[in-house]
């Protein structure tokens, strides 16, 4: 059964190159797999209690790649993203089946420790969630608990570069001891980005990092993403198709828990192969 699906997804979709897949067909079209992947996800099902939120999703995340995930609200983008660093472990009713590997290691395997895993796979959440501590402590917390800084100067430097990368340094460099929760929504989001990159993760998961940002800050974060891509892999959820087009190499379109289409960003936006994808990007959805 499983092998059969694999076959349909992997190869047959290629043969359907010119023919748009109908709305009723929920199998993934496009190129979900890449050579030499950083992370591989195979046949992921996610349930919240009895409700299934993700159905049989298989996709790879390549090295030095930005994968953007788009789709209508409630389609399971956040849910899928949170599986990638086991954040869903914290939700009691959430159950995951399938296999997710980082560098060939099953991250849900018994011998895996989630603590270093989450330092390796950083996350920026959909809602900004700074700690009710000072701005400095917010960014310094990660390096501190992981022992990344040898001394105070080291730590100061990590904090400064992280804040600079997140494009927040100029605004707050004179009030590092003020509470992070006192910042504006957009500033809080950038603070969370700084906090995530302060532990130098290898894969970064970003859940709508720019939804509360102005165009300038957005541009800054997008520059950051392009910069980070040189070393890391990034998965970004976004509602802005322009943003997906600007920053990502590949785009995945989710629809009601199904991964409908994955492919080169340009190709997906200019020449979608699935009717649902076309509906969504042309604004005909809903």
């Amino acid at each position: 059964m499983m092998e059969q699906t694999e076959e349909i997804r992997g190869e047959k979709s290629e043969t359907r190159d010119w023919e748009v897949v109908s709305r009723e067909d929920r199998r993934t079209v496009g190129i979900p797999f890449v050579d030499n992947p950083r992370m591989t996800c195979r046949n992921i099902d996610v349930y919240y209690g009895d409700e299934q939120a993700i159905q049989d999703v298989s996709v790879d995340i390549g090295n030095n790649e930005v994968l953007s995930m788009i789709g209508p609200s409630g389609c399971g983008k956040s849910t899928f993203l949170r599986c990638l660093n086991r954040m869903n472990d914290t939700i009691d009713i959430c159950r995951i089946t399938g296999e997710i590997c980082l560098d060939g290691m099953d991250i849900y395997g018994g011998e895996i420790d989630v603590v270093p895993l989450r330092a390796q796979i950083g996350m920026v959440f959909q809602k900004p969630n700074p700690f009710p501590k000072s701005i400095y402590d917010n960014v310094a917390y990660g390096p501190k608990i992981h022992g990344l800084a040898a001394n105070k100067t080291d730590l100061d430097e990590i904090v400064e570069t992280s804040l600079k990368k997140a494009g927040l340094w100029k605004e707050i460099k004179d009030r590092m001891d003020q509470p992070g929760t006192g910042l504006s929504g957009g500033q809080q989001q950038r603070l969370c980005i700084a906090r995530a990159i302060a532990v130098s993760p290898e894969v970064i998961l970003m859940d709508e990092p720019c939804s509360a940002l102005d165009p300038i800050a957005t541009a800054h974060v997008e520059d950051l993403i392009s910069e980070l891509r040189k070393q890391y892999s990034i998965v970004i959820v976004t509602h802005s198709m322009q943003q997906a087009a600007r920053v990502s190499q590949r785009t995945a379109y989710f629809h009601l828990g199904d991964l409908i289409e994955v492919g080169e960003t340009e190709r997906v936006f200019t020449n979608p192969r699935h009717q649902l994808t076309e509906d969504y990007i042309t604004g005909r959805f809903g």
């Binding site: 660093n85 954040m87 914290t90 009691d92 603590v115 270093p116 895993l117 989450r118 330092a119 390796q120 950083g122 996350m123 959440f125 809602k127 969630n129 700074p130 700690f131 009710p132 917390y141 990660g142 608990i145 992981h146 509470p179 929760t181 969370c192 906090r195 995530a196 302060a198 532990v199």
Partner: protein, 424 residues
């Protein structure tokens, strides 16, 4: 779907608006009324207690010119000397006309038994006093004290009066000689319990209460917080933890006397700890306050937003680090509130302490956790139960001290909460 025009919608809203405001107004009035009623009752309580109790902070004293007779006071045997004799002979010399045993007894009854102890303390403290004459203010007896505070009236028929006519005459004479007056009652704050109201003090019960509460706090706060954290953050959610939760909630509602009996059976009968001591009292009250602290602690932990937990876990904090660095500090104010509620309950608890013997008549002020002691509410109960009228004001005064204690405890809690409180 919506067939209302903006115009008709606005009219509908207007029509409803008046009613919405009216409901709000009524609700506010009801609330204000409830507050007023509670304030009124609180006022009545305070007025009666302060009215009855404030006189206890003063005490009537009589001035005697005591000659510390070297013949009576044998330096080698000072503790056995006849101190009451000193007082009595002095009284006789003040009123030389008094003859007859019954009248003399009435005369001696003007001053408290405590006068002799006071002289003894003076002599033992400074033997150089022997052979000299000194004016000493000694406490008057409880009846004289009551009379002097206007609680015994002259107009009552003599047979119904605790102060007889002849004693009235002596008191009047003492007054004209400026030998009798009301002074600050330091005894009340420095002495333990006594059969004589004028010698009874709250200090013993206060020390007992403080010692007991220290034991209670030292045990119930860490155990309660640890239990709440474990159950809320670490324990698997299954049948067993459900059963434990139900049981803890039930324990919070168990009558306190049951905890007293449990303490008696376990701590005293099984472990053989001594009776009537603050240690056992604290242990029993710990059993009683633990459910309160655990329940409020869990509620406080539940109230910490999940986004903070996710933030901590998301950058690779372990569960323990998440709890210790982020969740617990945010839950601390709520936990402190629960703790202070529990401690306030413990402060006012009488029943469970009766069963473990903390109701005994104890004169000495407890100095350690294993000295026999009583606590304030029990002391109040004992005094309220005493036949002597002079204990009425002591009872109210003790209640005032208890309330003050409670207020200062709450003030500390508010201060701590303000210190820990952070917005998120």
């Amino acid at each position: 779907m919506n067939n209302k025009t903006p115009d008709s919608s606005r009219q509908l809203i207007q029509k409803k608006l008046a009613r919405r405001y009216r409901t709000e107004k009524w609700f506010r009035r009801l609330g204000a009324m409830a507050v007023l009623i509670s304030i009124a009752f609180l006022g009545i309580l305070l007025v009666t207690i302060v009215g009855k109790g404030s006189s206890a902070f003063q005490q009537t004293f009589v001035k005697l010119d005591i000659h510390f007779d070297a013949e009576v006071l044998d330096v080698k045997n000072l503790s056995r000397a006849n101190y009451p004799g000193l007082v009595k002979s002095n009284l006789r010399s003040l009123f030389p006309e008094v003859k007859g045993r019954r009248d003399k007894k009435k005369l001696y009854n003007l001053v408290s038994n405590g006068a002799a102890f006071q002289l003894q303390d003076m002599v033992m403290g400074d033997t150089s006093i022997i052979g000299r004459t000194k004016s000493v203010w000694v406490p008057a007896s409880d009846d004289v004290d009551l009379f002097f505070k206007g609680k015994i009236s002259r107009d009552v028929v003599e047979s119904n009066r605790r102060i007889k006519d002849i004693q009235l005459k002596w008191i009047d004479r003492l007054q004209t000689e400026n030998r009798i007056e009301k002074r600050l009652n330091t005894t009340f704050f420095t002495a333990g319990d006594s059969r004589d109201p004028e010698l009874a003090g709250i200090r013993g019960a206060l020390s007992g209460t403080i010692l007991t509460l220290i034991v209670t706090l030292a045990l119930s706060f860490p155990i309660g917080v640890a239990t709440a954290v474990y159950l809320e953050e670490f324990a698997p959610k299954n049948k067993w933890t459900d059963i434990i939760e139900v049981n803890i909630n039930n324990l919070a509602a168990v009558p306190s006397i049951v905890f007293g009996l449990l303490g008696l059976a376990v701590y005293i009968n099984f472990f053989g700890l001594p009776r009537s001591v603050p240690l056992v009292g604290g242990l029993v009250l710990t059993l009683m306050t633990l459910p309160t602290i655990i329940i409020s602690g869990r509620a406080a932990l539940k109230a910490v937003p999940p986004s903070i937990r996710e933030a901590a876990l998301g950058i690779g904090a372990s569960r323990m680090q998440m709890v210790m660095h982020h969740v617990l500090p945010l839950a601390m104010p709520g936990m402190l509130t629960g703790t202070i509620i529990g401690m306030a309950q413990a402060l006012g608890e009488t029943a469970p302490l009766l069963t473990i013997g903390m109701v005994a008549f104890i004169v000495d002020i407890p100095g350690s956790f294993i000295d026999p002691a009583t606590v304030m509410p029990v002391q109040i109960y004992l005094w309220a139960d005493s036949p002597e009228r002079a204990f009425v004001e002591k009872t109210s005064a003790a209640i005032m001290i208890l309330l003050l204690f409670l207020i200062s405890m709450n003030a500390v809690a508010v201060f701590l909460r303000k210190k820990f409180e952070k917005s998120w």
